[in-house]
Symmetry: D2
Subunit: 350 residues, 4 copies
């Protein structure tokens, strides 16, 4: 296993470090004759950019201009690998020199050193959240395939920030607010909490939900490559995700079989589930109902607070991160999680 | 993807249906010169057997006698594939004839038909929980490798049944009770609930926790094959699992960065974490601290209650499952989940 | 890499040692609803058995009775893994005790010890030609898929034994003679040579040719998984094969572009090649013309001649193999090579 | 399978079309802390460039300037994916417009259309020999790993052009002549033949030999991933290769077991083979002796002769290729074949 590839039939390989020359992905298995432009990908990449308000988000400002280097000819995919790249421009590596020998708590500094005996300490190198940019580029292609071939739509939204939970669901509101929350009133409360926490130099955890509308039926491979297993892997591979549940998830622990079983009903020969506790997947295979996932997102580890840590020589030290960072990852992780869902579904579908 | 294999360096392929002639696994990549007997595997297989009390468990009674067919010579592994098999003996396929055209709610009947257009309806065929027997056989080998090469120990226990949560942790009590609960008092409450629910013909959800003590440091492959991602996949591939969290998991949504970050301390040059909210994994790579996972287990779908369903011709019907079934899966899933953890770790380690 | 699996969509895993309890294969990815019986597989397995005449072949006489253990329900495949097995019965392990510390020239004894530090010395263990039995079982399924879905036929024949080359091609004669030679006259010469060499305790090399009639068009994946690349791998993975060529093969070294290029002609819009120097594959993708391969088979290394060798302690010694062995492998490798071709094509087709 | 990746532990993915913006590779699994510069890669890339003499080679003149975009930090590899790229500069796509609807004999035009229904007709697109540039870049890294970790050296040379065979072997002469022939006298004959054939607008086939000196012992995975099987696949995946043999190869068909078996001898406990008919591989595993391969290279299909062909609408036509082409591929394929050998060995070694 070498780690930077996912998928079999729709196979994505990503590369690049936070402060290296560029970040990119190679996508294999995209069907030929699909219309594809740099703009299709740019649109999704732009959704991943930090919020404009510096009150809640990093001030690193990358243009993230997408280039397609192969696999597309005269505006159509040819079936050969699609190489996509953005260059890193707004790089301030100096900021990191002073922490090059410190292990930042909550980051992968310690473990990369354990594993590799060397690390690119600039902005987390390969372990940086910036790596997810490559996932979004690949995900944009996967989304396009799903939309054109199966009319599948994937969208995410923030359901909890700190201890504030969304209660209403207004889909059209999601992309209109900086937290991608579907509940206008709760959004305001969440935003106040984010601004307050950010000003205190701290950060917040959150929960996001991903809905996959109109998924193809019959996707998923028993036994080990169940659709929910592959989705769990894909989601858990996003750095800040610490939990995933599907359908009634952890709540199903408190349910009885008679409540949790989704009874079925046929109307004009068409089978419909009377509830969706299974989250659209039974026995690892999609039923055709909505697939619903929830992800637990840990608070951003880079905070402006003094914390105990150690040096790479095993000496005690303290650290306080003054760099450019987000306070709550939910809104920026949403396009990444959508992309991972799209990559898994496209892979299973093709 | 063809679904019945997991792992790259330690690669497990399972086969077999609930009511077919046999269930088996082929294990590739086991290191040579490891002492291995059928008894090593039998011990774990026996832990997966149903509880003796018919008050809470299926009355299907299989001997599950393990045979090693290859890969072991004069009591030692040779490095070649290990084929392991148990024959199915206590098969009552007739019980299933009457439901062959019905889709059981909460089961994979519908989705297998969607995907394959054919299914072995006897006891769920390939989608049966009995398939996990093969995982336990392979897991027994993985456990042995980990124990011998890295002194890693993996054990699970039930932390919640219905709405009753364990509160104490007495490790030595786990294997002494039928629910594998580490809290003696709560065990009694749980057991009462199980018996009551079973007598009502219903079933219960639960939560189990898996602890991996003394894992090798530096395991896991960024970006997509993170250790937590592979564990999430492996766990979610177990039929009844609907959620997985690691470390502080969903609770981290309500934490601040200053709380959730695991600060570090060095003592005699040895680095120790002051907390373990990350659950032993940072950036997808093991820190060497305990790895802690929690799994949400849905209630057994086969219940003795009349439920609405449909036939494979799309007609409305009702169903009531009178077969031999468990009420709460937690204690039997524990050896399966331990096995999956062992398989993932052995694969990453080798 | 763990070595005993081949294929992605049609995935074959084999297991078993020459003198262990059994030999088997697990086949993943076989489409559902294919009629499949043990007899379908038995027929191919029987073609691999040694010649009846002890003048040219081993006298080990296994019944090789095929059992299907999973994946088939009521005479049809279900899409789940097919586990197939034969038990080893005519095992004379004692014959091998005296050579357990000697490295037989031309065998894998030395290299298995180098790699694993242990080996099952009985009959070559895993490196025995008996392992190919599992390939033939899996190949029988692949052949059936190809025959039913694409009317593809695969057959092999011996074109050279020692220095005697076949000159005529009579397809119907192939399965009527013990060498699977398509030239009746040359068969007689070959047979005389085989008997003479066998009586001298020596063995013979040979060349076989595999023809794939009516292959699906458009099979093969540029760049690394070209159809010819996958066929080359599959064929070279057969123990005794030391060379493979496709189409004009090594002869193309002496050709000019103007001779070697297969010119094309259209008739009623249907494209036909005017020659087939490319062997049915261009750019790694099948053209639809016959695919033609030739394989160089080395002489059987087990011979009744005294040879210089060494012990596993690095001492000089001599060895003379008195066991039960073939003289010329060509006729028995043919069904194996056909099987490997079928496995590759089925994998690419599915 | 998606075709543009090879390897498991050392995994290479290539991308790019002959006349697209760039050609590149992503290399996963390179060990950390290996010194690596763009110059290391440039040196090998330069060896693949066409001969200076336009009498025998294409006049396309690319600078092929190598850029490393990730995976290297302060001159050392970090263990993360290495992305390498060269831009295409000397592109004359217009030359190809007139043949966009014609299928060039001996090329993949027909088969790409069969498979994908679309193709980038400019210079063969993805099927162009220019794709091998990416292999050479990745191979340079593999060579460096092998050299530093195992002192393994890989080199190739031309043994036959048309019907002229080399007879002597002077290693130091190989890189001093435009055909990479190790026999000075035969080189002159070969060169005359090449110039004559090129002036006639025709092309020549050839044979090259690859020697791997001092390979690690014990490499290769029985059963399907034998070292020779993986080498055969890797070599046959090079466009123009139509045959591969190892050790005595096709010649072994005419040998007896008593001749072909490599007898062994021990000296001071060290085991040596008395011959190397097996080509350094027994049972698919390296013995430690030299690994010796021979490849049949077909004549370049692009020739300045009028040939019969068809259009993509199935009409008869003629074609005469006037572009910039090589006459004999042997010298340029040598670094490619060396690279493929290095990639396979590095993959097996890591």
């Amino acid at each position: 296993m070498t780690g930077s590839s996912i998928g079999s039939n729709f196979k994505v390989t990503t590369w690049g470090e936070s402060h290296g020359p560029a970040i990119g992905a190679v996508v294999q298995g995209c069907p030929p004759n699909l219309k594809l432009t740099e703009k299709d990908i740019q649109t999704e990449v732009d959704r991943r950019k930090p919020a404009k308000s510096s009150k809640i988000s990093t001030t690193r400002r990358e243009k993230d201009k997408v280039r397609i280097l192969s696999g597309v000819f005269e505006g159509k995919t040819t079936g050969t690998p699609i190489s996509i790249m953005v260059e890193n421009k707004d790089v301030r590596s100096k900021d990191y020199k002073k922490i090059k020998n410190l292990y930042r708590p909550g980051h992968a500094d310690l473990t990369y050193d354990l594993k590799y005996g060397i690390r690119d300490y600039r902005g987390g190198g390969r372990s940086s959240g910036r790596e997810t940019l490559a996932r979004v580029m690949a995900g944009a292609i996967a989304k396009k395939i799903l939309k054109e071939k199966t009319k599948t739509e994937i969208f995410g939204y923030t359901t909890q920030v700190g201890d504030i939970q969304a209660q209403k669901f207004n889909k059209s509101y999601i992309e209109k607010n900086e937290l991608r929350c579907a509940d206008k009133e709760k959004y305001k409360e969440m935003m106040e909490l984010v601004e307050k926490t950010h000003s205190e130099g701290d950060s917040l955890g959150s929960i996001i939900e991903i809905t996959i509308k109109n998924p193809p039926k019959g996707l998923g491979e028993p036994v080990f490559n169940k659709l929910d297993a592959e989705l769990a892997k894909a989601m858990m591979s996003i750095g800040a995700v610490k939990g995933i549940e599907i359908g009634s998830g952890f709540h199903s622990a408190e349910m009885k079989g008679s409540e949790n079983n989704d009874q079925m009903h046929a109307k004009n020969g068409k089978i419909q589930a009377l509830s969706n506790n299974c989250g659209g997947i039974l026995g690892g295979i999609s039923t055709g109902e909505d697939i619903v996932l929830r992800l637990a997102i840990k608070p951003v580890p880079s905070i402006n607070k003094k914390l105990k840590t150690v040096t790479n020589k095993g000496k005690n030290a303290t650290i306080q991160t003054l760099g450019r960072h987000d306070c709550c990852l939910a809104p920026r992780i949403i396009p990444v999680a959508e992309s991972m869902a799209a990559i898994v579904l496209a892979d299973m579908f093709l």
